[in-house]
C-alpha cells in the first residue's frame, strides 16, 4: 500500500528523499522543490527509483501470483486426504454414491410425508463420530405404492424444509419456497425442485441413498465434488 502510494504520488524525475529511511507517506512530494539538489547524491537517483519500482511491482506480482495458491491450500482445511479412509469432505457429506442408509420401517409410511433422519458416521475436522444425524429426508408412498424420498434441505439456501399439513405442501421456513408432494416448486425462489433420492423398501425397512447437493443451482450438483 505504502509503496504503491509513493509510486503513484511521486514524479518520476525528482525525489530521492524517500530512500533515506523515513516513512514513505511523509516523504514523497510532487512539488519540484525537493529535487535531487537538496539531497546528497548517493547514486543515480533515476536508476534507484526505477529499481525500486521494478522491485515493488515484481514483489507485488510474485505475491499476487502465489497468493491464491497459498490461500487455497493453507486457509482451506482438510485438503490433504487422510491416508486411511475418505477425506473429511467425503465422509461428512457422504458424497459416495453407494452409501445407502436405513432410515425407518416400511410400516410407518403413508401418503403423508414423514420426516426421517439419516444416521451415520460423520467426520468433522479432527473428530469422527458414529450415529450422527447427517441429514433428513421426507419419505412417503405415492398412490402407486412407490417409495419417494426427498432431501429435506432446501435447494435454495439450505434451510430445513417443513411440511404444511393443512395445505398439503412442503415449505421452507426461511424464504417461503413451497413445494408439491412430489417436490416440484409451487412458489418462491427455489431454483429447482426438492432433491429426490433413490429409495426402496427392502426387508421391511426403508433404505435411502442419501446425498447432499449444492444449493442455488438449477441442476443437482452433488456436494463433495469440486
Amino acid at each position: 500500500m505504502m509503496g504503491f502510494e509513493s509510486y503513484m504520488d511521486t514524479d518520476p524525475k525528482p525525489s530521492s528523499a524517500p530512500i533515506s529511511g523515513s516513512s514513505p507517506s511523509s516523504a514523497p512530494s510532487s512539488t519540484p522543490r525537493s529535487g535531487s539538489a537538496g539531497v546528497p547524491p548517493t547514486g543515480d537517483p533515476g536508476r534507484r527509483h526505477a529499481l525500486r519500482v521494478i522491485g515493488t511491482v515484481g514483489a507485488g506480482a510474485c505475491v499476487a501470483a502465489t497468493a491464491p495458491w497459498v490461500a487455497g491450500h493453507v486457509l482451506a482445511p482438510g485438503n490433504r486426504p487422510s491416508s486411511r479412509g475418505p477425506s473429511a469432505q467425503n465422509a461428512s457429506s457422504h458424497g459416495a454414491a453407494t452409501s445407502e442408509f436405513v432410515v425407518g420401517a416400511a410400516g410407518q409410511l403413508s401418503e403423508t410425508p414423514l420426516l426421517l433422519a439419516v444416521v451415520g458416521d460423520q467426520v468433522d475436522g479432527w473428530t469422527r463420530a458414529t450415529e450422527q444425524v447427517l441429514g433428513h429426508v421426507w419419505v412417503r408412498k405415492n398412490n402407486q405404492g412407490e417409495v419417494q424420498a426427498l432431501n429435506a434441505e432446501c435447494p435454495h439456501l439450505g434451510c430445513r424444509i417443513g411440511f404444511q399439513k393443512q395445505r398439503g405442501h412442503f415449505q421452507c421456513p426461511c424464504h417461503e419456497s413451497a413445494f408439491g408432494l412430489d417436490g416440484t416448486v409451487l412458489e418462491g425462489p427455489s431454483p429447482r425442485p426438492l432433491d429426490s433420492l433413490h429409495a426402496r423398501v427392502h426387508g421391511g425397512k426403508v433404505r435411502v441413498q442419501f446425498k447432499r447437493f449444492q444449493t442455488q443451482t438449477s441442476e443437482k450438483v452433488p456436494l463433495g465434488t469440486p
Binding site: M1, E5, M8, D9, S23, S25, S26, S29, S30, T31, A71, G72, L75, A76, P77, G78, A88, Q89, S92, S93, G104, A105, G107, Q108, L114, L115, A117, V119, Q122, D124, G125, W126, T127, E131, V133, L134, L157, G158, C159, R160, I161, G162, Q164, Q171, P173, C174, H175, G188, P189, S190, P191, G204, K205, Q214, T215, Q216, T217, L223, G224, P226
Partner: protein, 603 residues
C-alpha cells in the same frame, strides 16, 4: 455561487466538531468492545459442545455476565451506526470542501474563511484523501464483519441457520464463492471448523486488520501535508480526517453520548443479547437476518428468482463502489454538490430503512413464523432450565436428546400425534396422552371408559362398560392398585427432570421407587381379581369370559408401555388397532419417548 459559499462556510466549523465527536465516539466504542470482549473471552469457548453452554453460563452464573454481553452486543450496533454517521459527515465535509476548492481562487472571499491558496493541496486530495476514505470504509466493513461473526458465536438456532444461509449464498458467488465457503466454513457441513474460524476472525483477524487500518488512517491524518503556502493554523482544517483522534481524545460531549449509550443498554429491560435454543441441524428454524442485513433480505424477496444474486451481491457491491468513489464524484459535481450529497445520503438511509421495516412487518403478520418461533421459544426455555443444572460434556444437544420433555415430546409429535392427542394438539383416534396412567386418569377411565379422552374414539369392537356401579369405595382401592402396578419399574429420572419439569412438579416423582404392589396392596388383590380379571388377563390367567380385554400384567409400567408401543397386539389381542412401532426408534429414543409417556402419571 457566492451565496452558496456564504451558506456553507459557517456550517463547516460546527459540523467538523460533530464529525470529530463521532470519530471519537467510534474509538471509544471500539475500546469498549475490546474491553467487554476480553471479559467474555475469559469464559466463552468456541466448540460445538461448549459454545452455547458457555454463553449460557456467562448469562446465568457470571456476575454482570448478561450485562457485559448486552453491552458487547449492542455496542457493536452502536458502533456500526456511529461509523455510518462519521462516514456521512466525512463525505459531506469532503463535498463542501471540494466545492470550495473547485471555485476559482480569484473569488472575493473573506480572508481566513475558506482556504483559497490551497489548490495544490486540493489536487493532492484524490490520493491521500481517497486512501483515507478507503481506510475508513475498510474499518466500517471490518466492524460489520466482526458484528456478523460475533453474532454467530453463541451457536444457537439463529446463529446456525443464518450462517447456513450466508454460507450457501457465498458459495453461489462466481469464481470466489467455493473458495470463500471453504475458507470460512471449513467443510461442506457447518461444524467445528466453521465455529473455530468464525471465532478466530472475530477476536483475532478482523480486529488486527481494523487496528492496522486505524493506524494508517491516523498516520494519514496526523501528518500535515508538506505543501508550501499553507499556514499552519489552516492545516488542521484542511486535513480530511482531523476528526480521528487528532485532538484531545476526551471530548466531553463524546463521553456524554457514550454514557447515554451504555446507560440505554444497561436499562433495556430484556437485555440486548438474546440466546436462543442451541443450534440443532435437525430442527427447522425460520432464519432471519439481523437489522443491518434486513434490507438485503427484503430486496432478495422483491427480486425475481433469477436476479436473486444480483439483488444480494451486485446491488450492494455497486453501492459500495459508488461509496468508495464518492469523494471523486463529489469533486466533479457542480456547486450544489452539497445538496446532492445530502439527497443521496438521505436515500442511502431511507431506502434500506424502508425495506427493513417492510420485512419486519411481513414477519409480524406471518402466522407460520410466529408459531415456529413460539415452539423454539419453548425449547429455549427448557434448554436453559436444564443447563442451569449443568450441561453434560456432550453438549446441549445431548442434554436435550436425553430429556423426555424435549426429545420424548418431539418423538411423540413425529409418530404418535396422528392418533393420540396431547395438550390439545394432534388427532383423537385413541386415548389422550395427557395425564395417562395418573391416579385421576385411571379413576376417570374406570368410570367412563368410552369418553373421547379414553377409548371413545378408538373404535374398539367391544367397549368396556362403565364401572361406576362399583362405587368409589371399591374403585379407589382398585385405582391405587393399578397405579402401583405401574410403579414397579419406575425409572430413576435424571435430577434435572425432577427439579425442572415443564409442566409437572410432583413430590411423588422424587420419592418414586420400585414397590411390590401385590405385597403393598395384598388386601386389594382379591377385589381386583373379582372385578377385573373376569374380562382382563392378568399374570397369564383371567379373561374367563373370553372377552379378550387388554392384559393388565404390570399395567402402566415402563415394561408394559414398551410392549404397548412395540407389540400392542400382545396386550390388546384381537381388539388392537395400534400399529406396532418396531424398529422405528433406536434404543435411546425409544426409552426417552417411553419416559415422556410415563411422566404423564405425575400430573
Amino acid at each position: 455561487m457566492s451565496s452558496d459559499s456564504t451558506n456553507t462556510a459557517p456550517c463547516v466549523a460546527p459540523w467538523l466538531e460533530v464529525q470529530r465527536s463521532a470519530g471519537r465516539l467510534c474509538l471509544w466504542l471500539l475500546g469498549l468492545e475490546a474491553l467487554t470482549g476480553m471479559v467474555l473471552g475469559l469464559t466463552y469457548t468456541p466448540s460445538l459442545e461448549h459454545a452455547w453452554s458457555s454463553v449460557y453460563y456467562i448469562q446465568d452464573r457470571m456476575t454482570f455476565g448478561a450485562r457485559v454481553r448486552d453491552v458487547h452486543r449492542l455496542t457493536g450496533d452502536a458502533l456500526l451506526l456511529a461509523c455510518a454517521v462519521y462516514a456521512g459527515l466525512f463525505l459531506c465535509r469532503a463535498g463542501t470542501r471540494k466545492n470550495a476548492a473547485a471555485k476559482p481562487p480569484t473569488g472575493q472571499r473573506p480572508a481566513g474563511q475558506r482556504p483559497t491558496g490551497q489548490r495544490p493541496v486540493g489536487q493532492r486530495f484524490p490520493w491521500r484523501g481517497l486512501v483515507l476514505w478507503w481506510a475508513l470504509l475498510g474499518i466500517g466493513a471490518l466492524v460489520l464483519g466482526m458484528e456478523i461473526s460475533g453474532l454467530r458465536l453463541p451457536w444457537d438456532q439463529t446463529s446456525y441457520w443464518a450462517l447456513t444461509v450466508e454460507m450457501n449464498l457465498a458459495r453461489a458467488l462466481p469464481v470466489v464463492g467455493p473458495f470463500i465457503h471453504r475458507v470460512v466454513a471449513g467443510a461442506d457441513t457447518l461444524g467445528q471448523l466453521a465455529l473455530t474460524r468464525l471465532y478466530a476472525a472475530h477476536v483475532l483477524i478482523l480486529p488486527a486488520m481494523a487496528a492496522l487500518l486505524l493506524a494508517l488512517a491516523k498516520k494519514l491524518t496526523s501528518q500535515p501535508q508538506a505543501a508550501p503556502g499553507v499556514a499552519s493554523h489552516e492545516k488542521s482544517a484542511t486535513n480530511q480526517g482531523t476528526a480521528l483522534g487528532k485532538t484531545a481524545p476526551f471530548g466531553a460531549e463524546t463521553l456524554v453520548v457514550l454514557a447515554f449509550i451504555i446507560g440505554a443498554i444497561l436499562w433495556s429491560v430484556n437485555g440486548g443479547a438474546p440466546l436462543g435454543a442451541p443450534a440443532d441441524p435437525a430442527r427447522t428454524f425460520p432464519a432471519r437476518p439481523e437489522w443491518f442485513i434486513r434490507p438485503l433480505y427484503k430486496l432478495r424477496e422483491l427480486a425475481p428468482p433469477a436476479l436473486e444474486l444480483v439483488a444480494v451481491f451486485v446491488i450492494p457491491g455497486l453501492l459500495g463502489a459508488i461509496l468508495a468513489m464518492f469523494p471523486l464524484v463529489l469533486r466533479r459535481l457542480p456547486a450544489h454538490s452539497r445538496k446532492w450529497a445530502l439527497i443521496l445520503g438521505a436515500t442511502f438511509v431511507a431506502l434500506p430503512a424502508t425495506l427493513a421495516w417492510a420485512s419486519l412487518k411481513d414477519d409480524a403478520e406471518n402466522q407460520d413464523l410466529q408459531v415456529a418461533l413460539a415452539e423454539d421459544q419453548q425449547r429455549e426455555t427448557r434448554a436453559k432450565e436444564l443447563a442451569h443444572l449443568g450441561v453434560p460434556p456432550g453438549g446441549p444437544l445431548v442434554m436435550l436428546a436425553r430429556d423426555p420433555m424435549t426429545r420424548g415430546r418431539e418423538l411423540y409429535e413425529q409418530s404418535c400425534m396422528g392418533c393420540h392427542m396431547y395438550q390439545g394438539r394432534g388427532e383423537r383416534k385413541a386415548p389422550d396422552i395427557d395425564g395417562l396412567m395418573s391416579r385421576g386418569w385411571i379413576l376417570d377411565m374406570l368410570k367412563d371408559p368410552t369418553h373421547d379422552r379414553f377409548f371413545g374414539k378408538a373404535d374398539l369392537d367391544d367397549d368396556m362398560p362403565s364401572q361406576s356401579k362399583l362405587g368409589e369405595a371399591n374403585l379407589i382401592p382398585i385405582r391405587d392398585f393399578l397405579y402401583a402396578l405401574g410403579q414397579q419399574d419406575a425409572p430413576k429420572f435424571d435430577r434435572t427432570i425432577v427439579d425442572n419439569p415443564i409442566q409437572t412438579q410432583s413430590a411423588e416423582l422424587q420419592e418414586s421407587k420400585p414397590i411390590h404392589p401385590e405385597v403393598a396392596f395384598a388386601d386389594v388383590v382379591p377385589l381386583f381379581e373379582a372385578k377385573c380379571v373376569s374380562c382382563h388377563e392378568w399374570k397369564d390367567e383371567g379373561d374367563f369370559l373370553g372377552m379378550g380385554a387388554p392384559d393388565l400384567t404390570d399395567y402402566g409400567s415402563m415394561a408394559w408401555l414398551r410392549t404397548q408401543v412395540l407389540d400392542p397386539e400382545h396386550i390388546y389381542g384381537d381388539l388392537n388397532k395400534m400399529p406396532a412401532f418396531q424398529e422405528t426408534w433406536n434404543e435411546q429414543d425409544l426409552n426417552v419417548l417411553l419416559q415422556f409417556v410415563y411422566l404423564q402419571r405425575y400430573p
